[in-house]
Symmetry: C2
Subunit: 251 residues, 2 copies
């Protein structure tokens, strides 16, 4: 049985305020739990699971046995933030990633300028993971990467992608030669324009696009060309991120 | 004031059963309401709005004055399926689109094989609208295009894109020479393989991918190449759709 304090602690991590205070976040789901056990980047604080799950994965759990806790279905419901709780809830320390300038300069990376929707943020982390982008930078106005909905929709991408919360001016002062591509609705055709191979691709907020501050910092304003009969005003932010990354990487 | 029957009728359209029975669906939001008034494809059954909204858009509303109804904020809450209702709710007839084979044969089009998430469906409609794809075919296992969440997240794309519910075998029997591209995780690199320009791009279900039936029907199995350091198991279905459409169209 879990103590009231443990339950309260885990529940508190639904809020950004407490995730930042304790530097911890929650992950739910069998597959991600097993991946975390094998991760060298993430440090486990505790794993809370139904007895049948613990029994099934005994062998994998040995590495962290002191941090494994059995719990009842009722307690699982209490600590889960899912409508239909899975069998296991994991609490991890939020990792701190340092920025390696040579890696940054020789890669395509992302800067998210105020992405608000957790589902979009999760999808974008999956894109970064799929293409192996070393960093995803997030402006301070973005939804928190460690928000439970982001973590769920990232499908484990947070285990490999390194998110760093930073403002673009700070990033530029650390790395002044960085090429910056701003995704806009009226820029250069990303498929036909000769562009440098590496750089920082900036994706704007779902409703307002890229802020003036960031637009002014960009070397290239790029866009996804519309079809002849195209009518939509914009694409979903994660969809646009996927198209631009794939276009920049496959030239 | 709205009659109880009108309120019940509009509420019933939250369910697919009643949308299919009455061949009607609901759209909420000021921008989409104004677009519907100008649409030549969609037939309006009724527009229900707060008095201040009706006053503001008097001029645009003349075209449909007999179908315009003023309502109270309380009734708006009753008929809206949004947490925070907008100022206007529209009921439209579900259009029936006919299939023009020459258009189908000379275009890129989409076939959605069991897409379940309303947000993904809405994002995919936006992609089809952006690139001007003439048709989006949906297997009978897909979430209903006229589901309120799909309509909201399509951002008006349903006004221009023509969705048709059909099974792939029926489509093939109507159009036997159609090139079929199946999006898979282990196919031909869409960026480097020579592929025909036109055809039907098939996108599978979020969890299970493309069904065996559809895979067997495909002429080409294509994929989005992973990055060298790429780790994710898959991309979000709407993101994958966007990347594949843009890659097929920009060659």
């Amino acid at each position: 049985m879990l103590s009231k304090n443990t339950i309260k602690h885990i529940q508190s991590l639904r809020l950004k305020k407490f995730r930042q205070k304790y530097r911890k976040f929650v992950v739910e789901g069998e597959k991600m739990a097993l991946e975390i056990l094998q991760s060298t980047e993430l440090e486990l604080e505790g794993l809370y699971a139904l007895p049948e799950w613990l029994e099934k994965y005994q062998a994998q759990l040995i590495v962290a046995s002191s941090k494994i806790h059995s719990l009842s279905a009722k307690d699982l419901e209490r600590i889960s933030s899912l409508k239909t709780p899975n069998k296991v809830v994991v609490v991890c320390n939020i990792p701190t990633y340092s920025l390696e300038l040579p890696v940054l300069n020789n890669s395509l990376t992302l800067f998210l300028d105020g992405i608000q929707d957790p589902g979009n943020m999760g999808s974008i982390l999956r894109i970064a993971d799929w293409f192996g982008l070393p960093y995803v930078f997030c402006s301070l106005g973005c939804v928190d990467i460690y928000n439970p909905k982001v973590i769920q929709s990232s499908m484990g991408a947070f285990l490999r992608v390194k998110p760093i919360a930073i403002e673009i001016t700070d990033l530029q002062s650390q790395c002044p030669d960085l090429n910056i591509f701003a995704a806009v609705l009226d820029g250069l055709n990303v498929f036909t324009t000769k562009l440098p191979k590496n750089g920082l691709l900036v994706i704007g907020n779902e409703g307002n696009g890229i802020s003036e501050l960031v637009r002014a910092a960009a070397n290239y304003q790029i866009m996804i060309p519309k079809g002849q009969e195209g009518g939509a005003e914009s694409l979903n932010a994660a969809v646009a991120t996927g198209i631009l990354c794939s276009a920049l990487l496959n030239r």
